[in-house]
């Protein structure tokens, strides 16, 4: 508390005291008066500074933690998260100009957030689709899919696993079969193959992770995952890819823009 200056409570405000305290700490984090990785004032210090009950302080700290701004380390105190969520702005993410600049969505986005992206565990196989993937891709009978599974990392920490399913009739003998799918990623390849992309749909669920997912993403206990399924459609209206993604919920804020028309 020596260096950090927190304001006093405003007794005339109609904002509850615990929210005012959370506001002060949040503002200190926003201003970088409390830097990533730094320890927050202890409960006792906050109690003495604000002259409030311990429950009030705890409630304030709980808000910050639920917002993903802080992490509590048992016995050590509460720290400013050093891995702030990446804003994943869907409407920009798949912009053609990124593909034309040779950047895949994940790379463009991570660079925007100032974190170092990497990809590992790329596995490419061919198989029959699950009924769900077959339905989403309008496949029937004998149709097979190329499956590209990979894991995405930010600053070396895994944040997302993604599995793409592309009709084998489209992907076969293209660079989509290679671990390095080339500049602009598989969407750039699909466009070169004559499937100029028109739109995507994204379906988002949230749930607790399965054990394998928890391991693959090195999730802390109590951290749910986003389960995001995207389908890419070409300008003829044909679904050309389904991408099934598990994302660490504490690494991402998903962001969308919608018209009001």
């Amino acid at each position: 508390m020596s260096e950090l200056r927190l304001p006093e409570l405003d007794p005339t405000s109609d904002r509850p005291v615990f929210k005012q305290i959370a506001d002060h700490l949040r503002a200190a984090i926003d201003r970088k008066d409390l830097s990533p990785g730094e320890r927050l004032p202890s409960e006792s210090q906050l109690i003495s500074h604000y002259d409030v009950a311990r429950m009030t302080v705890r409630h304030a700290l709980q808000i910050l933690q639920s917002e993903g701004l802080t992490v509590a380390e048992h016995g050590k105190g509460v720290f400013v998260r050093s891995r702030p969520p990446v804003r994943r702005l869907a409407s920009d993410r798949f912009a053609r100009h990124h593909r034309e600049e040779g950047k895949a969505a994940f790379i463009a986005e991570a660079e925007g957030a100032g974190v170092k992206p990497s990809v590992d565990s790329i596995e490419i196989t061919e198989s029959e689709p699950s009924p769900d993937v077959a339905a989403k891709l309008n496949l029937s009978g004998e149709d097979r899919v190329v499956v590209r599974a990979r894991r995405y990392l930010l600053n070396g920490h895994p944040v997302e696993t993604a599995t793409s399913y592309i009709p084998a009739s489209i992907a076969k003998e293209s660079q989509i079969m290679e671990p390095n799918s080339g500049p602009g990623g598989i969407y750039a390849r699909l466009e070169e193959l004559g499937h100029r992309l028109d739109h995507f749909t994204e379906e988002i669920r949230a749930r607790m992770p399965l054990r394998d997912e928890s391991r693959a993403l090195k999730l802390a206990p109590g951290v749910p995952v986003f389960h995001l399924v995207r389908t890419a459609y070409d300008q003829a209206g044909r679904p050309v890819e389904v991408c099934d993604t598990i994302m660490s919920s504490d690494a991402y804020v998903l962001s969308y823009e919608l018209p009001a028309r």
Copy 2:
């Protein structure tokens, strides 16, 4: 198992056995061979039908549960969920034609999903905004906000709490101050007040619920929440509402459509 006919495993498939079993059960649920509320075959029945290890069956059942298709009731078995997630299609949700037909988004959507919507606990107050809401609404100094808090229910079960913040300078003396905001909801009122809506942004986080949230939404243990914050912009580019929403993750699939341009 008397009535339910499950196919045999395909020994030539490259799809793992537990996924094949999950596929069969999912297909039976999709076809309504297993209806909402109905009990799935027991582990023992599945083990004997497929001639596989108990862990294989458990892994298959875990997939269905993680997809929100089933619920396990301790000591009673596994049941088809009778409260399937509502698809919340953002690009249609705020369509002007719904407002013009006098329907608020939540009502239009629930009717589309065939469930009975209701709203309770409406509270309308005026207060100073939190720093975060003030920043999102471009408010400064003395500006105040009208706060509309309410809870949404589907078939009598709470699924979402939402708190809207509207600049008091806009909402004051309008029907936005009334518990019943009139046909088309507050967005219709904002448009009548000269703020024709242009677009919305939505930011989605997922996390475990706070205790109050868990109570308000009657969440089962282990069910995370979506924390969705929407900002509405008028055609002059002014933010005119921030809506802060906590949604039960097992009641919703969030769905978005994105252009590929």
